[in-house]
Amino acid sequence: MSSEPVFRLQGGHKLAKPTLIVAWAEDASDVGVRTVDYLIEGLGCREFGEILPEGFFPMAGVNVVNDVAQFPESKFYISDESNLVIFRSNIPRTGWHGFLNAVLDVAGHDCNVSEIYTLGAMISPAAHTVPRLLISIVNRQEIKEDLEPYNVMTGTDYETPPGQKPTLSSYLIWLAKQREIRGVNLWVPVPFYLVSIDDPRACKRLVYFFNSKFDLGLDFTKLDGEITQQNNKIARFFERSPEIEAFVRRLEAGDGLDGEESEKLAREMAEALT
């Protein structure tokens, strides 16, 4: 392993035992990064530093997405007023242990964070009209009590099934526990047919949680507008396609769809909403 510094910070801060919020790009519906983007904009956060990509991402060229060359970014933002640190990053392709320890080094040594929240989406078979739940996984039992006033589900049992791997968020709060930093994974279910599109309801559920928990005084107008816009688009699509509406109504009634129907719903919804 290289002994070169793996992160670079800029400027000072006035934070006192802040909370760190972590979001990974390339998640279902990009729920995590859309949520932190809303927080960064709404709270007027400033860029504070970054983890350097070398050793964590392949440096063999760039990917082009929607005609634009991409490059991995792993950046910290802070809001002194709200006492929050936000980490928004692509998922490293290698050196995960070193990468997550770099996040915790910045969080622990440079910002003295008291707790970490990670954001993520889980794919749900439910309809988009169903209110979004918020599910938590904690790295210490006592944290559950702090979450209860915010209508967060805290009783999940789970083991990684064979052939799958734990999430990077699980790995992060497990490492955080070893450093005695409180850690919470927050998961919002996203309807399977919105996974490749936006799910502003899921973002709102997360933003609402942070707004309540940290008394941020955020304005929800923009998010509400996105939800209304999506509702209108879906309503217009239903007028054109009664079969798709029937699929969604069946999901609302708790009836499952078969594989072909699910695939059709996801494909046609993606075409209609993008």
Partner: protein, 305 residues
């Protein structure tokens, strides 16, 4: 990156036998079977975090209670002629998502394994794996032995059912050994340590499938027993090998006649006298692999859905 020792026994004339997962898990099954039969005790482990991504998370009532990593463990057992150290790695540390070890992590892992070997006084290390061969699954697997110094060639040539690279059809003594099984030989050579990789043959048409191949493992175990000058109770290994052959024969009998006919020709392929039989050409090998691949994918797809 470190080795954590649970016990530091004084060992007499020890030999290390190392294994990682690979094709048909041929080496892994052989070494793990030997470790279990000999009731070896755990001695040490390599801290996994720098090498591996976690393999399993356990959440109970909303609390993350455990994150498990692939293990890399050392075991020891006292034995008459040589005390034995086993190294069993659950995964190879691969950079970039491959199955076989690559990059600086692989180099570090191989060095840590050899550090442990030398700390315990080992003068020889065995690694074990699979050799893909144009053979039939009803045939006995031979063992390809590749030592890291010419001085060991005559010893391994003398063991029953063992061949060197130069004995293998068309190889002219050349080839390569993928992953840590090979890397360990090279690094051991740099350290002046004897090392030999023993590879049990697996039929070419099984190389791409996640089936274990204990017939190859059995042959590896027989050669290890000879090299270590010890008797090994093979009862469980024989049973595993027989069960595997029965299962494979069951699948084989479901193959379409034209594929079976091609594979049947492998029954007559031998390294010693390939020219005396109806030889399998490279085109035949490619065609066999394509046909079998198609067949097994269709079969496993049918079972899963």
């Amino acid at each position: 990156m470190a080795i954590k020792y649970i016990k530091e026994p004084e060992l007499i004339n020890p030999v290390m036998i190392a294994s990682w997962p690979g094709i048909g898990n041929v080496g892994m099954i052989a070494v793990d079977m030997l470790r279990r039969v000999m009731r070896a005790e755990m001695m040490a482990f390599i801290e996994p975090q720098e090498f591996f991504y976690p393999k399993r998370v356990i959440i109970r009532s909303g609390e993350l209670v455990e994150l498990e990593f692939p293990s890399s463990e050392f075991y020891f057992v006292r034995n008459e002629r040589h005390d034995l150290i086993f190294f069993v790695g659950e995964e190879q540390p691969a950079e970039g998502g491959g199955v076989y070890a690559t990059g600086s992590k692989a180099y570090s892992m191989a060095n840590l394994v050899l550090d442990a070997a030398q700390k315990c006084g080992c003068r020889r290390v065995y690694t074990s794996g699979a050799a893909v061969a144009p053979m039939h699954h009803t045939a006995r697997s031979r063992v390809w032995a590749v030592p890291n110094s010419a001085g060991l060639l005559s010893e391994f040539k003398s063991y029953d059912n063992t061949v060197l690279m130069s004995d293998v059809e068309g190889r002219g003594g050349e080839g390569n050994i993928t992953g840590l099984n090979g890397l360990l030989l090279g690094i051991a050579r740099r350290r002046g340590l004897e090392a030999v990789c023993v590879m049990g043959e697996i039929p070419v048409y099984l190389q791409g499938f996640p089936f274990p191949y204990p017939k190859g493992s059995k042959s590896v175990l027989e050669v290890l027993a000879a090299a270590l000058g010890m008797w090994i109770d093979m009862e469980r290994m024989d049973r595993m090998a027989q069960d595997s052959e029965n299962e494979l024969t069951g699948l084989y009998n479901k193959l379409p006649p034209e594929i079976k006919e091609r594979l049947d020709r492998l029954k007559h392929t031998t390294v010693a006298a390939p020219e005396s039989m109806e030889a399998i050409t490279d085109d035949d090998k490619r065609k066999i692999l394509e046909d079998v691949d198609k067949f097994f994918r269709r079969e496993s797809g049918g079972e899963q859905h």
